[in-house]
Symmetry: none
Subunit: 256 residues, 2 copies
């Protein structure tokens, strides 16, 4: 396989969707800037992993955008993204469409996404139950990750018919070690949709694949070195979701 | 004693003042955001502990809001808070009123304050000479602290009749170790008051209670681990002072 690289090079834009590649990303939404200024939050105002299903409750949580370190180890990151003109179903389509082509994956975060393919080698149309092998930057750190998409029910989530919850186990593609979980909940709003992302990383969520329980004292410090800075993860998520939402309606209309 | 927790739960709001609990905190004032962006400052533009009395001089100091690491060890944090409609005397009342009830203490920083009581077990009316035992988050770090309020004269401060200076020695409530000092100077302005907070933490200010001189090489590294990130301390102070100032005039009118 060719070496992964950032951005579009010769011929990369020669696809039906190539014109959607836009290396200029918008500034962070104001509420994300505010969360960066506030810095780490108390763990008691962050959503507990064991209560992930509460994300689907009506209204908003104490921390919709922010991050914090947890007394039990690891950290939690939350991001809310406003998406005028977008529907939850467009995101359902996107997760089943982008993963088979690096050039599609790069549309999402043109400054950080380097490579994407499905572990099963297959094409478009679905994502639940499949593993996306990606290479991307989180801040300045380069990650080779395996994202195993799950049924929401595996995290106890039962989204309503007009909502979606993209759930995944996140780990390394180079070693059989998982390091976190995430949920992207997308629900309708009066003028489109909003995505509410939650990540739980490190600490008790570092496990060796196929081995029950939290990884032992040998594995955890090594795996912890693979973890992004929670601040960088918050920025990355806010950027990519905001960026794609800007042209997702048109992309979906043309290619779904 | 019951386990401390953040926020109001069943019955917590059933007090005369419960309606003042507001979990929504305003965004940081612009001058605090600017200070965060500027990051750590040169120690020569930060107020020296030995010159704390200069805080009471007219005008403003080179760093009214900001933080920095000191060449002598430890760090210094400064925050200025504008308080329209507030008087210094309202803060004098607040410091003697809030410390006997956790539910009052939580009004001040609803996302970070978990518990408060006086070490002497007593009630309202004064704070100088008393020790407030608190539990709070500074960023994501949970602290169990003992705040011993002092006469301003103990730091060489002689506030004018229409000003106050809340001075304290800050330490652990779990071990006989102190880690810092602070002063909140409140003076009148044309439209209310302004608070000018100064913290000196770590380094030479880590001492074993009742033992003269800076703590030895055994204690200091352990105590240093209890120190907050100066950035988190600046955000916390700016948030709590700004938040309470929003309803302190009405609270004072009703309960003083």
């Amino acid at each position: 396989m060719a070496q992964a690289y950032l951005g579009y090079r010769d011929g990369d834009a020669d696809t039906d969707y190539g014109a959607f590649f836009d290396p200029e990303m918008a500034a962070l939404p104001d509420h994300v800037v505010t969360a960066l200024q506030h810095g780490p939050q108390a763990d008691q105002v962050l959503l507990e992993f064991d209560r992930a299903a509460m994300l689907l409750d009506e209204g908003y949580q104490p921390t919709e955008t922010g991050y914090g370190w947890l007394r039990t180890g690891g950290f939690q990151v939350s991001v809310r993204t406003d998406m005028p003109g977008v529907t939850p179903q467009m995101w359902q389509w996107w997760f089943g469409w982008h993963g088979s082509q690096t050039r599609r994956y790069k549309l999402w975060h043109p400054r950080a996404h380097a490579s994407a393919r499905w572990a099963d080698g297959g094409g478009d149309g679905s994502y639940v139950g499949r593993t996306s092998l990606i290479e991307e930057y989180l801040g300045s750190a380069y990650a080779k990750a395996a994202i195993r998409f799950l049924e929401p029910a595996e995290l106890g989530l039962a989204p309503a018919a007009d909502e979606i919850a993209v759930c995944a186990r996140l780990g390394s593609s180079q070693a059989p070690v998982d390091i976190g979980w995430f949920v992207h909940h997308v629900r309708p709003t009066p003028d489109g949709a909003e995505m509410r992302s939650r990540f739980w990383m490190g600490g008790p969520w570092i496990t060796v694949r196929g081995v029950a329980g939290t990884a032992d004292r040998l594995i955890r410090p090594i795996a912890a070195r693979q973890l992004p800075d929670p601040r960088d993860l918050m920025v990355h998520c806010a950027q990519e979701m905001n960026h794609l939402a800007g042209f997702l309606p048109e992309l979906h209309r043309r290619f779904s």
